[in-house]
């Protein structure tokens, strides 16, 4: 799980006919990388806010939340007690769900609260990026999915579940 500090944990990829090389947006625990400037340049036509690090106060706390989870995980693994494992799983699931909900809320605001003076106004159109998966937004295909860091956290959760299932002799290997 320490890996999640060194790789992005979420990605948004965008394709349009005039972007055959795709546009990339990588979300890390504490920063954004990728074609943010290009994406901002395009999105201002439809009145979307500029994506900036300041937009995400989450970046300040997420590294610490993950540190806490890792610490608890070490304790749980060391302690070997079933209730520790359960607690760890619950904490992981809670953190993951909170992250997804928070991301969805950001996406909703980003896609719905458009500048009324925007140059291009397509009636009835909103530009909420997909939470996970693919969505067509005007001439773009947007794909949102976990990146390496996200998979690491997901597999950690699965690992705990498997460990518990084995412990309860449901899984026998």
């Amino acid at each position: 799980m320490v890996v999640a500090y060194f790789v992005p944990f979420w990605q948004i990829e965008m394709w349009a006919p005039q972007y055959p090389e795709w546009l990339h947006m990588k979300i890390w625990l504490y920063k954004l990388t990728g074609d943010i400037d290009i994406i901002n340049g395009l999105n201002h036509y439809i009145g979307m806010k500029h994506i900036k690090v300041e937009m995400f106060p989450e970046f300040k706390v997420m590294p610490y939340i993950l540190a806490g989870l890792i610490a608890f995980g070490v304790v749980a693994a060391w302690g070997g007690k079933r209730w520790l494992a359960w607690t760890f799983l619950v904490l992981l699931l809670a953190a993951g769900t909170a992250g997804l909900v928070d991301f969805y809320l950001w996406g909703y605001d980003y896609g719905h609260n458009l500048d009324p003076n925007a140059a291009i106004k397509v009636p009835g159109m909103v530009y909420q990026p997909p939470l996970i998966g693919t969505k067509e937004l005007l001439n773009f295909i947007a794909y949102s999915a976990p990146d390496w860091g996200g998979w690491v956290l997901a597999t950690s959760g699965i690992g705990v579940i498997v460990a518990l299932l084995r412990d309860y002799r449901i899984l026998k290997f």
């Binding site: 990829e13 394709w15 349009a16 006919p17 005039q18 055959p20 090389e21 795709w22 003076n117 925007a118 140059a119 291009i120 106004k121 397509v122 009636p123 998966g133 693919t134 005007l138 001439n139 295909i141 794909y143 999915a145 976990p146 998979w151 997901a154 597999t155 699965i158 690992g159 498997v162 290997f173």
Partner: protein, 653 residues
């Protein structure tokens, strides 16, 4: 846990992750082009089917391209100097680029109009517009040379130009940028008084007589931006339609402020009515200084004269000249179908394509079916003029062309595609991607009453990875499509010269056999022409030294000149004595602050040279002319000012 189970679980997780993670959508693949190669291959010794006359945009020139091969035959200088052949550098051609602002060496040529008779291509001329220092130009299609340029006064951003009426009576020149017009006091106003003081102008330039382009009348309009225009044809002949944007009348941050209104206008102008008013003496004569430059065919010399007045009609004061048709949303193209009945607006920020009916428009005007006025001009009711809308065509419609078989083709800039739709049924029947972000389309004969059809070219604004990259600045891309069948088929992808905004194409057979091969020497009326090697001489007129020189394979006559002094201005008048096909000669001299000049067989071209130091200077033929081209050279001796070296010239001594 043993190593076995760790590995097993590890593999399980990786597999699961791969399955979920590998769901990134595939980008739409390339279109299968089938046997396109054979359709665009023009075998050695054979010719293309069409001449494609293409605007060069920011290079200020036209290029001549063959279809279907996409090969470039010529870069034809119009508004920009062309050192390659001396256009804008030779004494004969410099006046062609003269304006009321002096000599202007560059402009921005956006659109092409080919001359028509009875609504069909006649192969006489191509016209181009200058967007920066407003002008229109005429190009002769038998010599592919610019023969006439007329400056447009009281205008700025001559973008909505040149568009031509069905018998080439008029080409229009309309302002993209409204500016304050009138005397000095009226023109010096604060920029934020745009709404009160800035005006647009639409000039109707008489174009059907070579050498006689003049502004028949200039309409003064409210301060909007004119984008493109089309003349009516058949039943709508006598009317002209102009797309407008920035009816919000913004003067700053137009990106936002000119995109606010839901609808701008297509301005319909009854130019026959305007002609009546002018004939009745109702026009107002206004002082204005603007240049008219004409190339004389027999001498090859361009002459620039200044005009000093223009006739204006303010459309507010003269009813029945102009009507506004509401059109969503910042329309770019306004295009008329071959029958002349349907007027199609392409609103670049709109989600639909409105199709207006000329018949309905005339009815609405007759019954005064207005929804208000715009700065005194009646605004017709949208629904009363509308035939119908094409829904969900794509994103960012820009421009529509026609194939003459009942279909229209509209370019979609944002969704980077061409959309084919049935004009009567208003239904989309096919679409094809363009690479990338198409601006204008071109169907040979598209704007005429009888389109030649067969091919469609998309001129794009973004190139990226289509060809081998050449640093950050790339040639604009174009695609050639076969539209002869039901479905659009991509045939060829080729780079273009400059930025083609618009182009027209006509069958090669219309002009191929009329091409001038050389100029008859006995028709040459140039005052400094030398028609025989025996007539070469040098004349001194004070500080001016005129060299009457001949060129023929493979020598200049004279080729040894002495007696030039520092402070002299030397004029080399070089006549090409050849009377054969494709034997031009070139002329260049060391250290000249001009360029070379290419002299066509039978013609005379002059380069002015002011030597800056004492010595012997070589000159030579720059255009490969013969086996002994390398030997085609000469020397000229420059002595100090006041020296007593006599003026002598010789060949072979």
């Amino acid at each position: 846990m043993n190593i076995h189970s760790i590995v097993r679980t590890g593999l399980l997780f990786t597999a699961a992750a791969a399955v979920i993670g590998g769901c990134k959508p595939k980008a739409p693949g390339s279109v299968d082009t089938g046997d396109a190669a054979s359709k665009v291959y023009v075998a050695p010794g054979k010719h293309d089917e069409f001449y494609n006359i293409v605007s060069g945009g920011f290079n200020g020139q036209m290029s001549v391209v063959g279809l279907p091969s996409g090969r470039v035959f010529k870069i034809l200088p119009v508004f920009s100097v062309h050192p390659e052949n001396g256009y804008g550098f030779s004494e004969e051609s410099k006046p062609m680029l003269n304006t009321s602002h002096g000599f202007v060496p560059w402009d921005d040529l956006h659109h092409i109009a080919l001359s028509v008779t009875n609504g069909e291509h006649d192969g006489r001329w191509a016209f181009g517009n200058a967007n920066n220092t407003p002008r229109v130009a005429r190009v002769d299609l038998t010599t592919f040379e610019t023969t006439e340029i007329l400056e447009i006064p009281n205008s700025a951003g001559n973008h909505s130009s040149p568009f031509i009426t069905a018998n080439s009576e008029y080409i229009v020149a309309s302002s993209r940028f409204s500016v304050p017009i009138g005397d000095d006091k009226s023109r010096d106003v604060p920029i934020n008084t745009y709404k009160e003081n800035f005006k647009g102008t639409v000039s109707f330039v008489r174009a059907d007589k070579e050498g006689d382009m003049h502004i028949a009348f200039q309409l003064v309009t409210p301060g909007v931006n004119f984008d493109l225009a089309r003349a009516g044809k058949n039943k709508s002949h006598g009317w002209f339609f102009f797309s407008t944007y920035n009816t919000e009348q913004a003067h700053t941050l137009l990106e936002v402020n000119a995109s606010q209104k839901d609808k701008d206008f297509i301005m319909a102008v009854n130019w026959k009515k305007a002609e009546e008013y002018i004939k009745a003496g109702k026009g107002r004569v206004v002082k204005a200084k603007y240049a008219h430059n004409v190339l004389d065919h027999n001498s090859g010399i361009a002459k620039s004269t200044m005009k000093d007045e223009v006739i204006q009609l303010d459309i507010k004061e003269f009813p029945e000249i102009a009507y506004m048709i509401p059109c969503p949303k910042s329309p770019h193209g306004t295009d008329i179908d071959p029958s002349g009945e349907y007027i199609i607006g392409s609103g670049k920020l709109a989600a639909i394509i409105p199709v207006f009916s000329f018949t309905k428009m005339m009815k609405a005007i007759e019954s005064k079916d207005y929804e208000g006025t715009y700065d005194g001009i009646p605004v017709l009711k949208y629904e009363s003029v509308l035939k119908g809308e094409v829904t969900k065509p794509g994103l960012g419609p820009l421009h529509t062309e026609f194939d003459g078989r009942g279909y229209a083709y509209t370019s979609m800039f944002v969704s980077s595609e061409v959309v084919k739709w049935d004009i009567e049924k208003l239904e989309v029947v096919d679409r094809a991607p363009t690479y990338y972000s198409v601006g204008h389309l071109m169907v040979p004969g598209g704007p005429t009453t009888k389109p030649h059809g067969k091919y469609l070219v998309a001129y794009n604004k973004i190139t990226k990875d289509r060809y081998l990259p050449t640093g950050p600045e790339l040639a604009h891309s174009a695609q050639l499509y076969d539209i002869s069948g039901d479905k659009i088929k991509l045939l060829l992808d080729f780079p273009t010269i400059g930025e083609p905004h618009y182009a027209e194409a006509l069958p090669a057979s219309l002009i191929k056999d009329k091409q001038v091969k050389f100029y008859p020497l006995d028709k040459n009326t140039h005052p400094y022409a030398t028609k025989s090697p025996d007539d070469t001489k040098i004349e001194r007129k004070g500080k001016e030294v005129h060299v009457y020189m001949t060129s023929i394979r493979s020598h200049f006559g004279p080729d040894n000149i002495e007696g030039i002094k520092l402070g002299d201005e030397v004029y080399f008048h070089v006549t090409n004595l050849e009377q054969d096909w494709d034997v031009p000669h070139g002329f260049a001299i060391k250290g000249a602050n001009t360029a070379e000049t290419l002299i066509m067989p039978g013609a005379t071209q002059t380069l002015k040279w002011v030597p800056d130091r004492v010595g012997v200077f070589p000159f030579y033929c720059t255009d490969f002319c013969s086996a002994l081209h390398q030997e085609m050279q000469g020397y000229i001796r420059v002595s100090p000012a006041g020296s007593s070296v006599p003026l002598t010239y010789s060949l072979g001594k």
